[in-house]
């Protein structure tokens, strides 16, 4: 279907109409949708840090198992404890149902293909956010005793803090919007008559 110059309000209504369904599907299919993020997060963290031992997925939650020892006061005497950090991937992937609603509402050809491409493109961004969240918890919030074991320097901790903020506040919403704009240039040109390549 071609969009004319007056179709923006109708497009917005279609997006709003699709959102409940896309959010429901996203939430119900979360264990499946999160699985590639778990694989990428494990690959990234175990490659970069020898103190990350494994990443386990339970539904939408990832648990990073490390070899880092918590502060002595945190574990009872005689008990060998290691630090594990949990991260909820849903917190960083809610842009997926938004992208799906935008794609379906635009009614362009090859929508299923676009949905799949959009899903794959967003995986590295979600992984970035999840890994930044894990690093923030392990390197900054777990305390100086744990941070010392990671051998991560002061400026690297600042970088982790920035990446966490960017990966939490900007990336989850902006990345899907950019992906949608890039995949719908002809639609946007018809909608606005302004955007040129």
């Amino acid at each position: 279907m071609r969009a004319d110059s007056d179709s923006l309000p109708r497009f917005v209504l279609r997006v709003v109409a699709w959102l409940p369904l896309t959010f429901a599907v996203w939430y119900l299919a979360a264990p499946l949708l999160v699985w590639p993020v778990a694989l990428l997060a494990e690959l990234a963290t175990r490659s970069a840090f020898d103190w990350v031992k494994s990443v386990e997925q339970t539904g939408p939650l990832l648990t990073f198992i490390t070899s880092l020892k918590p502060a002595e006061a945190a574990s009872p005497a005689g008990v060998k404890a290691v630090l594990s950090v949990e991260s909820n991937v849903l917190l960083f992937s809610f842009g997926l149902p938004m992208l799906a609603a935008l794609i379906l509402a635009a009614r362009e050809p090859r929508r299923v293909r676009m949905l799949l491409i959009g899903f794959v493109i967003l995986l590295p961004f979600q992984t970035f956010s999840v890994v930044a969240d894990f690093l923030k918890n392990a390197v900054i919030l777990a305390g100086p005793a744990v941070a010392a074991q990671t051998h991560i320097s002061g400026w690297q901790r600042e970088l982790i803090a920035f990446c966490y903020q960017f990966g939490t506040l900007i990336l989850p919403t902006v990345a899907p919007a950019i992906v949608w704009v890039l995949m719908h240039r002809p639609f946007l040109e018809r909608l606005s008559g302004r955007i040129k390549s």
Partner: protein, 171 residues
């Protein structure tokens, strides 16, 4: 389009980096967040007098439930995205300034609706509050930014195609 995206990403990263500085936090973000809480409380008091605001906290005097407006909920990041999108797009400066003024009001206006709706959702059902807070409203605010930007682009005067292409290439 490539030039637009490079400018957009660069401006966004710069503005977001500036927002995180202690100077911007103390002189802009915190005062704005407190103002947002006060505006929200002022609107709610029109139909529900038992509401208080203190700093960035909006609280019900009757049951004690309170919401604290934190980073990500004050609309600053959404505003940054809109500002970057409007500034990066090739258009006359006068049009950009008008777009920024109206667009920021539109984004912050919806954000006030978000704060007030979360305040009441939290008193009604905490699970629904969490869902709306963490997922739904985040997506709706970004959708608002996208729609405002599309409306602004559509409202720009239509130049001859070759002029538009030349302006985009020169930007």
């Amino acid at each position: 389009m490539v030039s637009f995206f490079l400018w957009f990403l660069g401006l966004q990263a710069t503005l977001f980096g500036l927002e995180l500085t202690p100077w911007a936090q103390s002189w802009f973000v915190v005062p704005w967040t407190n103002t947002l809480a006060a505006i929200s409380a002022g609107i709610v008091k029109l139909f529900d007098p038992g509401v208080l605001s203190q700093g960035k906290v909006l609280q019900s005097a009757s049951n004690g439930f309170a919401v604290s407006i934190e980073a990500g909920c004050n609309g600053v990041e959404a505003t940054i995205v809109l500002v970057a999108a409007i500034l990066a797009f090739p258009a006359p400066w006068k049009r950009k300034l008008v777009g920024l003024a109206i667009g920021i009001v539109a984004v912050q206006g919806l954000n006030i609706v978000r704060v007030i709706s979360l305040f009441y959702l939290g008193q009604w059902n905490f699970n629904v509050f969490e869902w709306a807070h963490l997922y739904v409203w985040q997506a709706l605010i970004m959708l608002d930014v996208l729609i405002v930007w599309l409306l602004w682009v559509r409202a720009l005067p239509r130049d001859p195609p070759e002029v538009t292409a030349a302006a985009a290439a020169a930007h």
